[in-house]
Symmetry: C2
């Protein structure tokens, strides 16, 4: 691998940005990595872990002179960061982001960027339930997908960003912002809201204790708790900024759920059996595409933990 | 460990029964394990894998002379099996089951059992998304919970069954059938139906292709597909036989989901943030109780699969 960008600025130093730093180092993809975060505590941790070459105090300081600027803050904070860095960006620099929503980010960021920089929104579809600068690791993007939304940006600049993501181990796909936001509503946003809801219901139910919920969670419930443990600020922003598509998918979900509830109530076993058989195929597809493991129980240790 | 039952009969040879056989052998808990299954193919596979001492053709043949008979067939088939074995059961034998629902099983099985046997319903809260006689393994029950529903059964007989489950690695808890069915509706049945529904919606949505759903599933969706790949016959029977409690929990779920949808629609970020913060505590409880791993992404391999 060779250097793709001479200087990379990471604004925000959570799971996604710190994993990018580890992966860029693994691949020798960046000449220098400069990082910043709003909180002094996060900056101190990042210094301590040492995944950046330099940690600076402000977004403007980080962005100045950078060849690539990565906005890795919650979706609701992107606009303010863009406003701060807009005036100091180097001519010909590329600005990208890693937000889970693309339409709202483009709307918030674009107005603040000068015409002589390339804005190429992006979204790596990878993550874990852990957050913060200590949670990153170099392999996070291996064989995962990163979606770029070039939105008419310069082809050479887009190809360069693509090279970076591929160098970090990811597959790259391109699509427009609306389609991205719909696809993500299905594969990520609706599932997260549903998981949060189910975990909330279990926690809230007077007649079943939390100890019972916890002890008996291996019967299925615990699978929901992983994504319901994700970062609350990030997810609040995702739902508020991908409102339309999320509500559309939740509407379809409720419709189907009601049909299955009716089948249970009326004792329509054939309807249930057919539905449950059909959903197995998707799991097989995911495993064949290398997007999940076939090991039982996600390969969780079966020994005493 | 020493032998708890001289002869154990396993009726049905799927994931649960084959794992019991492996675990009983590991612990030296059974003098002889006799197995049977309705399908000749399953019996042949079980012979091939060799986790039983003897495989016989009928439930009656297996049950005759057994000290413990384990009904490990789908909930909807328990009544017919009980009717078949009732006349041949040895006086003083114990009959148990491993069904995910207890009220309906008691109703279906009890009438067919003679008064001189101990019927102690049970439910091990463990499993994987795989099914069939090849999917079993000895560690499945280690540190998982098994719920017994003694329902007034003889204390010594109950203690003996408890010894068996503990010998197979499980923790044992006791409760009545109604409470069991409510607890399981929360920790297992509702989550499964919701996962099946979400996977069905994704599969069914014209504007997003299956390839997109599959490639981008790592953003959350794939967590749902594991339990939506569970055995369709088993789950059809579970929902039809735990109708009331499942519909009650789904009703609560829909109510909460609507409240969160309204918060998204009206832009109530505080409501969302508070809700998402609260659900993190349950995950911590599950990890502290050793019921799930804290490794990111359930400890799925982060290398190329």
């Amino acid at each position: 691998m060779s250097v793709v960008y001479q200087r990379v600025a990471l604004i925000g130093l959570g799971l996604i940005a710190s994993s990018m730093a580890h992966a860029m180092r693994r691949g020798g993809l960046a000449g220098e990595i400069v990082g910043t975060a709003r909180s002094a505590e996060t900056r101190d941790i990042a210094r301590d872990v040492g995944f950046c070459d330099r940690i600076v105090d402000t977004a403007a300081e980080a962005a100045e002179g950078a060849d690539l600027v990565v906005l890795a803050v919650p979706v609701g904070a992107m606009g303010a960061v863009a406003q701060e860095i807009g005036p100091v960006l180097k001519a010909g620099a590329t600005v990208t982001d890693v937000g889970s929503v693309k339409g709202a980010v483009i709307e918030a960021v674009s107005p603040h960027l000068p015409e002589n920089v390339h804005f190429i929104p992006g979204h790596p579809l990878a993550g874990t339930e852990h957050s913060g600068p200590r949670s990153g690791f170099a392999e996070l993007y291996d064989n995962r997908w990163c979606i770029l939304v070039p939105n008419g940006a310069d082809e050479a600049a887009t190809q360069r960003l693509r090279d970076l993501w591929q160098g970090m181990g990811a597959n790259v796909d391109m699509m427009d912002a609306d389609h991205h936001d719909l696809v993500l509503a299905v594969t990520s946003h609706a599932p997260h809201l549903i998981a949060y809801t189910m975990v909330g219901v279990a926690d809230d139910l007077g007649r079943v204790t939390d100890t019972e919920v916890i002890n008996y969670s291996a019967a299925g419930f615990r699978d929901f708790t992983r994504i319901a443990a994700s970062d609350p600020t990030m997810w609040r922003d995702v739902f508020l900024s991908n409102k339309e598509a999320t509500l559309e998918i939740l509407g379809r979900f409720t419709e189907e759920l009601f049909a299955l509830q009716r089948a249970i109530r009326t004792g329509d076993g054939d309807h249930l059996f057919d539905y449950f058989t059909r959903t197995r195929a998707i799991r097989r597809g995911i495993i064949e595409a290398g997007q999940d493991t076939d090991a039982p129980d996600f390969g969780r240790s079966t020994k005493h933990e």
